[in-house]
C-alpha cells in the first residue's frame, strides 16, 4: 500500500519535473535567439526540411479531403434541394476545423517524429554534448531554428491545405456533380467571414504549431540515449502531440465559435 503511494508520488513528481524541463528548454530556445546573420541559414535549412518537404503530403491529403467532403456533403444536401450550400459547408468545416487539425496531425507524423528522431540520435551519439564542449549552446544552435521553422511552417501548411481542399471540393462539386459554379463561390463568400473564420483558423494553427513542435523537440532532447529510447520518444511524440492537438482544438473551438 505504501509502495503504491510512493510510486504515485514519484510519477506525479517526475511529470512535473518533465513539464518544468520542457518549459525551461522552450524558454532557453526562445530567449537565446541566434543572431540574425548566423541564425538565418540554419532557419532556412530547417524551413526546407520541415516545411517544404511536408508540402506534398499536405497538398495531396488536402485535395482528397476536399473531394471527399464535397461528395459526402452533396449526397446529404441534395436531399433537401440545398446542394448550392455545398460551398459554405466545405469552406467552413475546412477553415475552422479540418484545415488546422488535420495539418497538425499530419505535421506531427511527418515532421514531428523526424525532429524527435534527429535530436534523439544527436543526443545518443553525444553530438549535443560535443557542442556544449565547444561552448556552443545546443538550445541556440539546434533547438531554436527547428522550433521557429515549425512555428512558421505549420500555419502556412494549414493555409495551403485549406486552399487546395476547397479547390478539390470545387473539382468534385462543380465539375463532376454539377453544382452551379457561381452559387458555389457566392454563397461561400456570403457565409465565410475573414475575421471570424479565416483568422481564427490561423490562430488555431499557430497554437497547434507551438504545441506539436514543442512536444517533438522536448521528446528528442529529453529521450533516453539508446536506440530503444529514441524509438519510444518518437512514438510518444506522435501520440502526445496528436492528443494535445485534439484537446486544444476543443478548447479553442469552445472559446472562438461557441458565442
Amino acid at each position: 500500500m505504501i509502495n503504491f503511494f510512493q510510486k504515485l508520488g514519484h510519477k506525479t513528481l517526475s511529470r512535473f519535473a518533465s513539464l518544468g524541463r520542457s518549459t525551461s528548454m522552450l524558454f532557453g530556445a526562445l530567449v537565446n535567439m541566434p543572431n540574425i546573420r548566423k541564425g538565418t541559414p540554419l532557419l532556412i535549412r530547417q524551413l526546407y526540411m520541415i516545411g517544404h518537404q511536408s508540402l506534398l503530403i499536405i497538398m495531396v491529403s488536402g485535395l482528397f479531403i476536399g473531394m471527399v467532403l464535397a461528395l459526402q456533403g452533396y449526397t446529404v444536401l441534395v436531399g433537401y434541394g440545398a446542394e448550392d450550400s455545398l460551398g459554405p459547408l466545405v469552406a467552413l468545416s475546412l477553415l475552422r476545423e479540418l484545415g488546422p487539425v488535420v495539418t497538425a496531425l499530419l505535421f506531427a507524423g511527418r515532421a514531428g517524429s523526424a525532429l524527435t528522431a534527429e535530436i534523439g540520435l544527436m543526443k545518443a551519439t553525444e553530438q549535443l554534448s560535443s557542442l556544449e564542449m565547444m561552448a556552443i549552446d545546443p538550445l541556440k544552435r539546434v533547438i531554436a531554428p527547428r522550433f521557429w521553422a515549425g512555428f512558421i511552417s505549420m500555419p502556412l501548411l494549414a493555409l495551403i491545405f485549406s486552399a487546395v481542399a476547397i479547390l478539390g471540393a470545387h473539382l468534385v462539386g462543380v465539375d463532376w456533380l454539377g453544382v452551379d459554379s457561381g452559387s458555389f463561390w457566392s454563397i461561400m463568400q456570403a457565409q465565410v467571414s475573414f475575421e471570424k473564420d479565416i483568422l481564427n483558423g490561423i490562430i488555431k494553427s499557430f497554437v497547434f504549431a507551438l504545441v506539436v513542435t514543442w512536444i517533438a523537440l522536448y521528446k528528442g532532447y529529453d529521450c533516453i540515449p539508446t536506440s530503444e529510447g529514441i524509438s519510444k520518444a518518437t512514438t510518444e511524440t506522435v501520440v502526445h502531440s496528436s492528443l494535445a492537438v485534439l484537446g486544444f482544438d476543443f478548447l479553442l473551438t469552445a472559446v472562438m465559435f461557441s458565442g
Partner: protein, 182 residues
C-alpha cells in the same frame, strides 16, 4: 544539396503559403460590408425576432446594405432590440418613418431584415448632415398637417415602425381564434 537551391525551394514554399492566404481571403471570404468600409449604426425594437441571428443580412429590395451586429433585450421594456450596422453611404438617406420587418429567404432559409425605405426629405437630410436648414413654405405646411417634422435616420437612431417575425404557432392560434368567433 547546396544552399542556393534550398533557399529557392523555401522561398517557393513561403510564396505558396502566401498565395493560399490570398486565395482564402479574396475568393472564399466575403469582402463585403462587414469589416471593410465605413458603417453607421441603427437600432430597432421588435415584439418578437423569431430566429434572427447576429450577422444576418439587412436588405433593401433584396440588395444587402448591412448586417445585424447584435441582439439584446431592452432593459426596461423587455422587448428585443436589434443593433444594425449599415453602409455609411445610406446615412441620412432614410426617413424615420422607414419600416423594418423580419423576413425569411426561401422556405427553409435564414431570416433577414428587410427595410422598406421612405426617402428622407431634402430639408431633413440637410439637418441630419448638420447644415442650417432654410424652412420653405411647403415643409412648413407638411409640418402643420402632420404635427411633427420627419427626420432622417442618423447614427444611433431608433426605428420605431417594425414588423415582427411570423411565428407559426401564433399564426395558427390566430386562425383558430378567428374560426371560433365566426
Amino acid at each position: 544539396m547546396n544552399t542556393r537551391k534550398i533557399e529557392i525551394l523555401v522561398g517557393l514554399f513561403v510564396a505558396l503559403g502566401v498565395l493560399a492566404f490570398a486565395v482564402l481571403a479574396l475568393k472564399v471570404a466575403n469582402s463585403g460590408i462587414s469589416g471593410s468600409g465605413e458603417t453607421y449604426t441603427l437600432n430597432a425594437k421588435f415584439e418578437n425576432i423569431g430566429s434572427l441571428k447576429a450577422r444576418a443580412p439587412i436588405k433593401v429590395g433584396g440588395v444587402v446594405i448591412g448586417r445585424v451586429e447584435g441582439i439584446s433585450i431592452h432593459p426596461q421594456e423587455f422587448v428585443p432590440v436589434v443593433n444594425m450596422t449599415i453602409d455609411a453611404n445610406y446615412e441620412c438617406q432614410f426617413s424615420d418613418t422607414t419600416s423594418v420587418s423580419i423576413l425569411t429567404s426561401g422556405i427553409l432559409g435564414e431570416q433577414y431584415l428587410g427595410i422598406s425605405p421612405v426617402i428622407a426629405s431634402e430639408s431633413a437630410r440637410q439637418s441630419c448632415f448638420g447644415y442650417e436648414v432654410a424652412h420653405d413654405d411647403a415643409s412648413d405646411e407638411l409640418e402643420d398637417l402632420f404635427g411633427v417634422e420627419s427626420k432622417a435616420l442618423r447614427n444611433g437612431d431608433l426605428i420605431t415602425d417594425t414588423k415582427s417575425a411570423l411565428v407559426l404557432e401564433e399564426l395558427i392560434g390566430q386562425f383558430l381564434f378567428n374560426q371560433g368567433s365566426e
